[in-house]
Amino acid sequence: MPPAEPVLAAREVTRRFGHRRVLSGVSLELHPGDALLLVGPNGAGKTTLLRVLAGLLRASAGRIERRGCVGMVAHASMLYDALTARENLRFFARLHGGASRGRVDPLLERMGLSAWADERVGAFSRGMTQRLAIARALLPDPDILLLDEPLTGLDDASAEQVLAVLGELRARGRALVIASHQLAELMGVVTAVGFLSLGELKAVESTAGRDVAAITARYREVTGRA
């Protein structure tokens, strides 16, 4: 049987900001059910790569191929502080159209925010905002979900909840790309690790049969960082 078409592929992607090259010849492929963890030191280009993959930034060279809808959770919540949680989700659901309108209340419930659905987002804690940002990204039931430090600001219970949602998405054949330093927490979700250093994707390796210590050792070897 021929291998399935990748839902997301980067082909020799380079991104420059002025004269500074932030990504250099990055190539990767994701198939349905893949979950890639991008690791690398600060400034390695993880956020830029996610933004290029999402189509928010144009690649200076190379190309991105996407098959399906993209959702993204970034450092910034992409939410309006003056609107309530429900109003924010309803607004983005109207933009996405289709079935996403019917997903507002179930997603608020799923992310444990039903009790605060009519509170303004400006009054939310960092963790609540992060959970709502994840709900926003899940509105169109994306085929590809890009997450930049998704566990930031979450307490243990909320992190468990988010990890369960990510595991469920992967099981349903969604492709995930997660940029994070929290390797141990995400080991149960991801299927591969990409080592990014100075804008270059040095290696993409399966996590199968490897533990956190082995991957950390490999990270040090590839990036030259302690």
Binding site: A54, G55, L56, L57, R58, C69, V70, G71, M72, A74, A76, S77, M78, L79, Y80, D81, A82, L83, E87, F91, F92, R94, L95, H96, G97, R136, P140
Partner: protein
């Protein structure tokens, strides 16, 4: 087309809901308009200059500068938490985003104008009963021209460090042609001149509307990219 209209309405509705809730730009703009009308009225020597001679200039200085406060705010909403990224991830054309922002800005500026106009009539004691429909038409045409280009420039400067300073600097040269046309047409209406004397200025305003709206619509996409 229906999807684009739905998205534009959602964006306009969201902007107006936020403004209605916070009232930050509306209160500033209306206060500014009242102050300008009052200052210009009391600065005039009534024995040397008739009210009708300064009224058109006073009206349009008030309208344009009060509008600028609202235009500045239009994209600051989107910069907060990078909400524009959330909109760009949705299947919405840049043109639909532009028309949504334009519609919200037109409603905002129209509201400021509606509040300012009775004060203008009160301060300057101008004969308005017969000329009101014509003045409403002139105001609508001139407002469309400068709000269209203001929406484009607001989106362009929002990522700059001095966005609130940059917008007036860039916008003022574009304001001159429609505002000159509007002042000239208003002066003739207030002087109770026949409508045939205003026709040339109305054609000019219509031309500015077509040119500014068309160019802004096509250039808007470029302002969204980093």
């Amino acid at each position: 087309m229906r999807d684009a209209l739905r998205a534009a309405l959602a964006i306009a509705g969201k902007d107006l809901a936020i403004e209605w809730r916070t009232k930050t730009a509306l209160v500033s703009s209306v206060t500014f308009a009242v102050l300008v009308l009052a200052v210009l009225y009391f600065a005039r020597d009534p024995t040397a200059v008739g009210a009708v001679d300064v009224a058109p200039g006073a009206l349009w200085v008030t309208f344009t500068f009060a509008a600028m406060i609202g235009l500045n705010r239009a994209f600051l909403l989107e910069r907060e938490n990078r909400a524009m990224d959330g909109i760009r991830l949705a299947p919405v054309s840049p043109q639909a985003v532009f028309f949504g922002k334009l519609a919200a800005n037109l409603v905002f500026v129209g509201t400021v104008e509606l509040v300012s106009l009775p004060l203008f009539i009160l301060f300057y004691d101008v004969p308005m009963v017969r000329g009101l429909p014509a003045l409403a038409g002139i105001t609508a045409m001139a407002t469309l021209a400068f709000v269209a280009v203001g929406t484009l420039l607001s989106s362009m400067v929002v990522r700059t460090r001095f966005a609130e300073l940059m917008l007036p600097l860039l916008l003022l040269p574009f304001l001159v042609p429609p505002v000159v046309g509007a002042v000239q047409a208003t002066a003739r209406i207030l002087a109770d001149r026949p409508l045939s004397e205003v026709q040339g200025w109305l054609k000019l305003l219509a031309a500015f509307d077509i040119v500014f709206v068309t160019i802004s619509t096509f250039l808007f996409e470029a302002t969204l990219e980093e």
